[in-house]
C-alpha cells in the first residue's frame, strides 16, 4: 500500500511569492489534513478536507487556503509568503471519520528567503 505522498520535497521562495503544495492520500482515504511544523512549535493544524469540502480550519490567515479534488488529492496554497512561513508542511490522511489515527507524508520543506 502506497503511503501519503507529498510534492515537492523542498521549495525555496522569496517574500511575496505564492506557493502550491500537493498531497495524495492513501488509497481509500477521503480525509486530508494539512499541518505546519515550524521549528520548536510542534504541529500546528491548518486545514481539514473531507469529501471535497473544507471541514475545519486552524488559526491561520486567509492567505493559507486549499482544496480537495474528486480523487481526494489536495493542494495547499499560500499567498504573499512571509519569512515566518518557513516550515515543514505535513499532509496526513485517514478514512474521514475525523477521530481516526492519521497517516502522514514526508512533508514539503518550504524556505522563504
Amino acid at each position: 500500500e502506497a503511503g501519503v505522498t507529498q510534492s515537492p520535497t523542498h521549495l525555496i521562495k522569496t517574500r511575496g511569492q505564492q506557493v502550491t503544495l500537493r498531497c495524495s492520500p492513501i488509497s481509500g482515504h477521503t480525509s486530508v489534513y494539512w499541518y505546519q511544523q515550524a521549528l520548536g512549535l510542534g504541529l500546528q493544524f491548518l486545514l481539514w478536507y473531507d469529501e471535497g469540502e473544507e471541514r475545519n480550519r486552524g488559526n491561520f490567515p486567509p492567505r493559507f487556503s486549499g482544496r480537495q479534488f474528486p480523487n481526494y488529492s489536495s493542494e495547499l496554497n499560500v499567498n504573499a509568503l512571509e519569512l515566518e512561513d518557513s516550515a515543514l508542511y505535513l499532509c496526513a490522511s485517514n478514512g474521514g471519520r475525523g477521530n481516526q489515527p492519521q497517516h502522514f507524508g514526508d512533508g514539503t520543506r518550504l524556505s522563504i528567503l
Binding site: 504541529l43 475545519n56 489515527p101
Partner: protein, 115 residues
C-alpha cells in the same frame, strides 16, 4: 481554548533506563488520545491510541500509555529504552466539536538515547 502540553522538550537517557513522557490536555468532553513518533529521517507514525475501555494502552515496540481522566493526562512509558528509540514523540488529542473533530498536537519531546 483546547491545548496539549508536553512537559519535556528534550530528554536524554542511557540505554536500559526507564522512560516517562508527560502529556496533559485541556478539554472537558470525550477525547481520543494518540502518541505519534518520528524517527530520524522518517515520517510521523502512530505509536499507540486510546479511544475507550482499559485506560492502560499498549503500543508498538514496548511502549504503553495510561489515560488518567481526572488528571487530563496521557503519559507515555517504556520500562527500558533502546538506542533505536531516539526520536521525537508527539502527543495528540482528538476532540469533538460542532461539525466534526479536531486534532491538536503537543509541541513534541525529543528523546536521545545514549548507547
Amino acid at each position: 481554548a483546547q491545548s496539549v502540553s508536553q512537559h519535556n522538550h528534550h530528554v536524554i537517557l542511557s540505554e536500559a533506563a526507564s522512560l516517562e513522557l508527560g502529556c496533559n490536555y485541556s478539554y472537558g468532553g470525550t477525547v481520543n488520545l494518540f502518541w505519534y513518533v518520528q524517527y530520524p529521517g522518517q515520517h510521523l507514525q502512530l505509536l499507540l491510541k486510546y479511544f475507550s475501555g482499559d485506560p492502560l494502552v499498549k503500543g508498538i515496540k514496548g511502549f504503553e500509555a495510561e489515560f488518567i481522566k481526572s488528571k487530563f493526562s496521557f503519559n507515555l512509558r517504556k520500562p527500558s529504552v533502546q538506542w533505536s528509540d531516539t526520536a521525537e514523540y508527539f502527543c495528540a488529542v482528538n476532540a469533538g466539536y460542532t461539525g466534526g473533530f479536531k486534532t491538536i498536537f503537543g509541541a513534541g519531546t525529543r528523546l536521545f538515547v545514549k548507547a
